[in-house]
Symmetry: C2
Subunit: 470 residues, 2 copies
């Protein structure tokens, strides 16, 4: 009964509101009670329903008012166009790999591993412990929690050959994710308007960070064995660059892993040019048939700036990474971090350290290796059977992605749309090129959800490719 | 006995190591057992003690080696000096306000409230809930958790007068702390080499962020009632600046709160110049005798970029803030955030939202207000009694700090040292000036630990000032 009378009152008030101007004050609850001969609760219910509809708003202690309707007066932000001018870097649209999707598609586009591949039990336990600890209410030192700095230094130190001085904990700066590290490194070591060498293709996030830092990108072609050392040397000479950004292990997107010899050659070129190698070891925990050895482990002279993230292997909620750098370069990067964000949440640092120092972490990494292998093989087999036009230059020894070259002339936009309308999300390779793409490529993530659907996903890609061949 | 024999073995091995070159391989455990006629446990203990001393290192499965001693070969990073060149912005040393101190000093220097002033119970419960939720393992959308965006929009909307269109949730971008917001806003809306108007004195973090973004800082003098509108108008005209950064409520360091009329005048000047006001509402939760009303609440035309942080009032471990911006400016800032860090930990966002939507949060804020009041009054009384030379231009209506002008000619470095040697840490005002300081100032935080020692702290400052007057 009450419901009916509150609806009746609401309907009458809506008529009144329609004729009133925005900002008009409604009669008080008391007078509405009298007018409609209803209980205060019923009147409140009517007012509540109108508030939910966005028609009125109440200001405690003042009264209830007719709300200004947004659509009645479209906002004009035209003046901002003059104030902002054109952007200093050409705008890059947000990466398609960051798109959220629903459960009913096969998502090959994402850059992240599926939740099934995360150490859920370790993460929850670590966060619960951290929330009871001091870390929940305190501020860690700017470079990071000392224990976590030590862990990162020890991890890299464990790969350091005898005779090479391993990094110390104070060489480590903890970061809120490796993306922030890229931005800081490019700002601090390259600087606005200065040249930066980068593999092509390369990680789109690094391309975005470089654009944001306003540096001048110089692509260095990189194949399945990494860049050609002579080509790299030429690029250093002609550009005057002092920094080369690369992913020597399981490069994103290609999956390339430089042979040890190539790593040494590149490091030699970098040294001879008095330059830095920014080594982005993004897939350190994602080895499948090999175990990655960072080039940084062979450097004690401060030429390698080493970037290592835990976000993808621990949890996207625990955004913790580290940069290991020696000498003045480390000071420059730390100063940039201080200006950018001062410090990284001690809670996240403490939880990250907890996860990676549990015995269960090593068990998890071993099981992850097997899962990645079977997922990779499943997708490779699917593509070979159902989409033979997609050429895989190499089967990656680690990482999360396959990189496929499509027949020349493939219309990537059309292909992406065709796949999507059939429930498969793919990422066009264009985003991974710092300059014009060398051809039509797609990147396929085999670490996404529902590997059982991989063959079906490959079949859909194959059909979409066939349609273009006609 | 075992201990003795392991020490004996260790001593003999040290002699051997002293004569060996770095990288030499030690005899195997088995042969050491035979050589010293000791048990494997005793030999292991000896090796362990040498490892702890950093003299040897073991590589599992390979052997034990003499470690390269760091001091034997000092690292030479001289080549980096050439590679890095001079910094693009003059280096600013880390702020003295970020110094960690021990428990036995009176710290007036910090920018953060004491742990006693944080909602500890709410924070721990929220983090525990978040660690059991989906947020512990998932990645939120780039602009933020929708529910948290709504909360920030609603909070500002609650101050919006009738007739002004309140912000929508999609105007909100969640940030990992407001410092990151400053950096992004300056990069996105001002840009490298372009002018930025800023109150003087102003927040040192903003000065650092501006330097990092490579913008050209133009100080606008600001008194207890904020900047003079005519002076601001002149600064816009002569510089061609399109952005003015300010803290209208409880400015850091001065504690100034602009009267409502002044806020309108400044907003008028900003509008007439087709410019942005970056309103840093850092102390929104720290009102004492007034309740802050953001200038942003009076703007629907996108002229005010509103920055609001929860880090200081919720917990330094929950680094969550938001920028509210409308129109193309919002897109520019979001693109910069995406390049800088992609997204903010959903766990921290979820915990922050949990804290501020608990009924206990309002109770906490009320009690905080009383605690800040009594702390402020205690420090003011102490200074008046024991350090009358420190002139307080105003007693702030909110915020965390007192700003005191000292007698002309005061040697701030000497004063800081004298106070420190007597156990009181103060922050020299120099850091808060974008250009030359107008005089000798100090900032004293009354939200630090141990308010009972405030009178004693004031006495020590007074004595140090007296020493300079002699």
């Amino acid at each position: 009964m009450n419901n009916d009378s509150s609806s009746r009152i609401a309907a009458r008030l809506r008529e009144w509101i329609a004729g009133a101007s925005p900002g008009s004050r409604l009669p008080s609850t008391r007078s509405l009670v009298a007018e409609y001969q209803a209980s205060p609760v019923t009147v409140q219910k009517a007012l509540q329903s109108l508030t939910t509809l966005g028609l009125i708003e109440s200001r405690p202690g003042v009264g209830t008012f007719v709300r200004a309707v947004r659509t009645a007066r479209p906002a004009d932000y035209g003046w901002q166009t003059a104030a902002l001018g054109s952007p200093q870097a050409p705008p890059r649209s947000a990466s398609s790999t960051m798109r959220s999707t629903t459960n009913d598609v096969i998502p090959f586009h994402s850059g992240y591993p599926d939740r099934d591949l995360l150490p859920e039990r370790l993460v929850r336990a670590a966060l619960a412990r951290a929330s009871r600890s001091d870390a929940a209410l305190s501020r860690p030192p700017a470079p990071g929690l000392p224990e976590l700095q030590s862990w990162f230094a020890r991890e890299l130190g464990a790969s350091t050959p005898v005779g090479v001085t391993p990094p110390t904990p104070s060489d480590v700066i903890v970061l809120p994710g490796s993306q922030s590290g890229l931005s800081s490194i490019f700002r601090a070591l390259v600087g606005h308007g200065q040249p930066l060498l980068m593999e092509s293709p390369s990680y789109w996030g690094a391309i975005h960070a470089a654009a944001q830092a306003g540096v001048r990108l110089i692509p260095v072609p990189s194949g399945p064995d990494g860049p050609d050392p002579e080509e790299l040397a030429r690029a250093f000479e002609t550009s005057g660059a002092r920094v080369f950004y690369a992913q020597p292990n399981y490069a994103n997107p290609t999956g390339a892993q430089w042979p040890a010899r190539r790593g040494e050659q590149v490091l030699d070129v970098v040294r001879r040019n008095g330059a830095f190698l920014v080594e982005d070891d993004w897939a350190h925990d994602f080895g499948i048939s090999t175990t990655p050895v960072p080039i940084a482990a062979h450097d004690e002279s401060g030429h390698v700036i080493y970037l290592r993230s835990l976000t993808k292997s621990v949890s996207p909620a625990i955004r913790v990474a580290a940069v290991i750098a020696r000498g003045p370069a480390r000071e420059r990067i730390l100063a940039d971090r201080a200006a950018e964000s001062m410090y990284v949440s001690g809670l996240l640092q403490s939880a990250a350290l907890d996860v990676v120092t549990q015995p269960g972490w090593q068990t998890h990494l071993r099981s992850l290796r097997h899962q990645l292998q079977s997922r990779r093989d499943l997708l490779v087999a699917g593509l070979r059977e159902f989409a033979p036009q997609a050429h895989l230059e190499r089967i990656p020894n680690g990482g999360l992605n396959l990189w496929a070259r499509l027949p020349d002339g493939t219309d990537l936009e059309q292909l992406t749309r065709d796949c999507e309308s059939a429930g498969v999300i793919i990422a066009a390779g264009t985003e991974w090129f710092p300059a014009e793409p060398e051809g039509p490529f797609i990147r396929l993530n085999y670490a996404g959800p529902n590997p059982g659907a991989f063959p079906e996903g490959a079949r859909i890609i194959g059909r979409a490719l066939l349609r273009q061949a006609r």
